[in-house]
């Protein structure tokens, strides 16, 4: 593909680098995010959160908050009009804490006041009588005898066991390893925000930054005790999501306050509050055993994965299924035994984040492949080639890989890409440490690492995953106008641009407008699982195809079609054997990292990431390039710095001062080679792209740092002290 971002072809059709409409306003600070919305007579909401990771609540006294001038409402769990709990998969999370809190930062009470500062002061005047208890913070201890039960059904959220082939398989060469992944945060830049406006019909209009309007709508309506038809959601400007906006945050709270006061109410989380306001990536502990023959061909993989689900279920039960399904990596594994569990603890709830369970195990399986390569003195790419998954093989779940699985091609492509020159930097910022001036080359060694990863596209295990699009053609003074109405959330990834490209391509009409997303049209499903271009793109394509048949009618007046796109059905995994055709499709990417490492100080500078990725069909080269850069940055962050540090159930670094993400000086040059193997089941043969850059980039970087430092490095993010061996 061409990676020149400036080449914009005039037609705006698929395959072109069409510029996004929101790009310029965002760069200029003119884009309206959810936090920028306002309304007449608007009040400001604020949330009282638990200071304890675990405590009983013996009473809540709101009197002193209510008497503060300017305060219009102080609400607790007793004021929740409908269902008192919510949750995407299991309704276990109280809208407001009832008789106990299970994590630090859990919402306990909410306030509406005439000024945000008044609301904050009112929060401080609420007296909660807590009886703190020792937090349960170890996900493995959570299911041992004697552990306190955090939920009525016990602490085991889900166990997924996959048995494939011969459980007694033995091998000539065996490598074992234990690995750990810290708690990464989505760290989107636009904090949670919403504006709720009470309507005359007794309903509510909720303007919110979210990933999935309809799943919010269902939960919000139930908690408000309103029919969904009176719970109207409107997508407002979303400043990044990465999975962190799949669960509700303030949606019910702000709507409760608006309905209670009869006035518009707005809530915006602060940066610190945002760390407590959404789920994080599951921390993981993994034990692996790989058996291979002398040629390096895998005989078996045994893996045990423990995920910390935190205080509430969120999407844990799906994440753990992914962790199990992908635990062995994109390889031909004749015999596998995988156990993955996720448990409740008093740590922050964990849920969806880009890569969704595949990220954690990729660090495990790729570290193991490197161990195996070292044991057999094989090149890391060679060992992967000898085991590469291909079309026609079966996954450990028994599912036939019937779509493209170009693992071999991606690895060979990576091998063919030249290495960056190893020269002493002229710019001192190019030494490890960058502007910190900590080395002029002393202690610095270069390392190279490779990794390959994969993940499924769209939802799995029998979920009825669909998307709806309404497309209308009308005519005004400017000629024919196409309007696309969906509930699909543009969260910054460029979906609106690609939907418009699809409509132009299908209808050969130039003027296309993407209407604001809301719940006045059917669900588009979630903006997650790398699924929206496939699913909502598919729905738009379908609606346009139907309109194309009726174009002659457009002379007489507007024509409109609503189409629902479904991917092929999937099955749940068998609860005993973990077998089943649970996945829609797979996507793959490989990464090679070159890092300069100051091995004495343990400081890393990534020099270059080379990546090969198969995308089925390039829909928008510029947007694709952006997704790949961003995903690699997030993978780099997990490898080297991004971690919510926990101590006894408390977050130690809820700020961007101490939760570090890569800066432009940390982000290396990216060299990419994109291939297009058409996916037989997808519109245009496309495949999902958003998550794959995040999966193998982390283990590739760690492998490079291992290569430079010679240390085993079994935990991410790598700490300087680990690399330096202090």
């Amino acid at each position: 593909m061409s990676t020149s971002g400036t080449r914009v072809l005039p037609l705006g059709r698929i395959g072109e680098s069409v510029l996004r409409a929101d790009g310029r306003p965002k760069v200029r600070g003119e884009f309206a995010y959810a936090s920028d919305l306002g309304a007449d007579r608007m009040l400001w909401g604020a949330t009282l959160r638990s200071p304890h990771p675990s405590a009983r609540i013996r009473g809540i006294d709101i009197t002193r908050a209510l008497t503060l001038s300017g305060v219009h409402a102080v609400l607790t769990h007793a004021d929740v009009p409908g269902r008192t709990t919510y949750g995407m998969e299991i309704s276990d999370q109280p809208v407001l804490a009832i008789d106990r809190v299970r994590y630090e930062g859990e919402p306990v009470a909410i306030v509406a006041a005439d000024h945000p500062e008044t609301a904050r002061r009112a929060i401080e005047r609420i007296v909660v009588d807590y009886l703190p208890e020792d937090p349960l913070t170890d996900p493995e201890r959570a299911i041992m005898p004697g552990a306190p039960r955090l939920h009525p059904g016990g602490n085991l959220l889900r166990r997924v066991t996959i048995r494939h082939g011969d459980p007694g398989a033995t091998a000539e060469v065996v490598v074992r390893g234990e690995y750990a992944v810290g708690m990464q945060d989505q760290a989107f830049l636009g904090p949670e925000a919403a504006l709720a406006v009470p309507a005359e019909d007794g309903g509510i209009d909720l303007h919110v930054a979210t990933q999935w309007l309809h799943v919010d709508q269902g939960q919000v309506a139930a908690c408000l005790g309103l029919p969904p038809s009176l719970t109207r959601l409107h997508l407002s400007g979303v400043g990044g999501a990465f999975g962190g906006r799949e669960d509700l945050s303030m949606q019910v709270h702000v709507a409760m306050l608006a309905l209670h006061t009869g006035r518009p109410v707005k809530m915006v989380y602060s940066r610190e509050e945002s760390f407590f306001g959404h789920v994080h990536r599951h921390p993981a502990r993994m034990e692996y055993e790989h058996g291979a023959d002398r040629d390096g061909r895998l005989v078996y993989v045994r893996a045990r994965v423990v995920l910390d689900g935190g205080a509430y279920a969120s999407s844990s039960t799906a994440v753990v299924a992914n962790a199990a399904t992908f635990a062995c990596g994109p390889y031909d594994v004749p015999n596998a035994e995988v156990e993955a569990i996720v448990t409740y603890t008093n740590n922050p709830p964990c849920g969806a984040m880009r890569g969704f369970g595949a990220v954690q195990v990729a660090f495990g399986h790729e570290s193991q492949m490197d161990r195996l390569a070292a044991e057999l003195a094989l090149d890391p790419i060679e060992i992967r080639l000898r085991n590469a998954l291909a079309t026609g093989m079966r996954l450990p779940t028994g599912q036939l890989v019937d779509g493209p699985a170009p693992v071999r091609e991606l690895l060979e492509g990576l091998r063919d890409m030249p290495l960056p020159p190893d020269v002493v930097p002229v710019d001192p910022r190019e030494f490890p440490g960058g502007v910190s001036n900590s080395t002029h080359g002393e202690g610095t060694r270069r390392g190279v690492g490779v990794a390959v990863g994969f993940k499924n596209i769209a939802f799995a295990e029998g979920f009825d995953d669909y998307s709806t699009a309404r497309v209308r053609i009308s005519r005004d003074d400017g000629g024919p106008l196409v309007e696309i109405h969906t509930a699909a959330a543009e969260v910054g990834q460029g979906l609106e641009t690609v939907l418009a490209q699809i409509a132009r391509t299908e209808l050969s009409l130039e003027r296309v407008r993407v209407l604001p997303a809301d719940t006045q049209v059917g669900s588009a499903g979630s903006t997650s699982a790398s699924r929206q271009t496939w699913m909502t793109g598919g729905a738009v394509q379908l609606a346009c195809a139907r309109l194309r048949e009726r174009l002659h009618e457009a002379i007489d007046g507007p024509i409109e079609e609503t189409a629902v796109y479904r991917h092929r059905p999937t099955q749940a995994l068998d609860p005993d054997t973990g077998q089943g055709d649970s996945l829609v499709a797979l996507a793959f990417a490989a990464h090679r990292a070159v890092c300069d490492v100051d091995v004495e100080l343990g400081i890393v500078r990534a020099v270059e990431i080379a990546t090969t990725q198969d995308v089925g069909r390039v829909m928008n080269p510029l947007a694709l390039e952006g997704q790949i850069h961003g995903g690699i940055a997030q993978g780099l962050g997990l490898a080297l710095m991004e971690e919510i540090q926990m101590e006894e159930g408390r977050v130690r670094n809820a700020s961007f001062t101490d939760y570090l993400m890569p800066t432009v000086l940390d982000m290396p040059q990216v060299r990419m080679r994109i291939s297009e193997t058409p996916h037989p089941h997808a519109p245009y043969g496309l495949n999902g792209v958003g998550e794959m850059p995040t999966i193998a980039s982390t283990p590739a970087i760690v492998a490079a740092v291992r290569d430079a430092s010679g240390r085993p490095l079994t935990r991410v993010p790598l700490r300087p002290s680990d690399i330096a061996g202090v």
Binding site: N437, N653, P720
Partner: protein, 302 residues
């Protein structure tokens, strides 16, 4: 109707209570009249604290418009740097006069932070992680304090008394810092897990004075205040004297550099915190000690 809102209102009540003196005399008078007003120059520390709701000042004393604080000059063997001089200017303008200070300023925050943040603010915040502080301590700088009625000069090493604590009286402001002009090579290095925009896990300044034949050090982020490694300094001065190295600068033995690094590390009193362990800080200081001294010495020999 839902609409796009105008500018953020969160800070509005603060702005209504902001004092904005136009010259130093007005500022000192305002400081005397409102000792609880919070002095704010670039705001790069204080606005974070206010936005995180860790601090709710009743009033703000805005020092950003005071021309007398915004310049620097050379007076004989000293630089007089106004409290309002930004990190960006230190980075760009100190050159050979105070190279260590310029290097340290380069490591602070982002370009935006360096454009706003000031040396006076860094001193007043008195964080052990304040990156401008180690080069000032190593240089033996003095902090110029003034009130409406008096002024005084305090050595920087006596100014900071603990983490975010200092000797400034409620009616005083920092007007300037006096920094001796460099008489030899200076280096500043810090360690953090990110290649820019990172708070120091630890940092080190090393200054050579080829005229006075001294070695000066200052350690950041590894004790309650910036501390000197006086034993390391004395050791290296001894090595240099003994070898006649000031007159005949030859290469320094690796063992001497290593010993210097060890003594630097031994002078630190680090803690375990969210940014790093005490053991790693000691280790890193030993490495930085070795490296920064060797860079200074290479430059001296050149």
């Amino acid at each position: 109707m839902v609409r796009r809102q105008g500018p953020r209102r969160r800070i509005l009540p603060l702005l209504e209570a902001t004092l904005q003196p136009r010259d130093l005399a007005d500022a000192l008078a305002a400081r005397g009249a409102h000792p609880t007003a919070l002095p704010l120059a670039g705001g790069t520390d204080l606005m974070v604290e206010i936005n995180f709701d860790r601090r709710r000042p009743e009033r703000i004393l805005d020092l950003s418009r005071i021309a007398e604080l915004a310049g620097w000059d050379r007076e004989g063997d000293e630089l007089v740097i106004g409290a309002g001089v930004t990190h960006a200017r230190l980075e760009g303008e100190m050159g050979g006069l105070a190279p260590g200070l310029g290097m340290a300023a380069r490591t602070i925050g982002s370009p935006q932070i360096r454009n706003r943040g000031t040396i006076g603010g860094n001193i007043a915040t008195s964080s052990p992680a304040g990156d401008a502080l180690p080069p000032l301590v190593a240089a033996g700088a003095r902090v110029e304090l003034a009130s409406a009625t008096a002024s005084r000069s305090v050595p920087i090493s006596e100014f900071c008394t603990g983490p975010k604590r200092n000797v400034m009286a409620p009616d005083e402001l920092i007007t300037a810092v006096r920094v001796p002009v460099a008489q030899g090579p200076q280096q500043f290095a810090k360690v953090g897990p990110r290649n820019a925009m990172v708070i120091a896990v630890c940092s080190l300044s090393v200054h050579l004075d080829a005229v006075a034949r001294t070695v000066r050090t200052a350690i950041g982020s590894a004790a309650p205040t910036i501390v000197r490694a006086t034993e390391a300094e004395a050791f290296m001065e001894g090595v240099l004297d003994e070898r006649g190295a000031w007159e005949r600068p030859g290469p320094l033995p690796a063992s001497a550099l290593a010993r210097f690094g060890e003594l630097v590390a031994a002078a630190a009193r680090p803690i375990d915190d969210v940014r790093g362990s005490a053991a790693y800080r000691r280790h890193a200081l030993a490495v930085l000690g070795r490296r920064t001294l060797s860079w200074c010495w290479q430059e001296h020999r050149a």
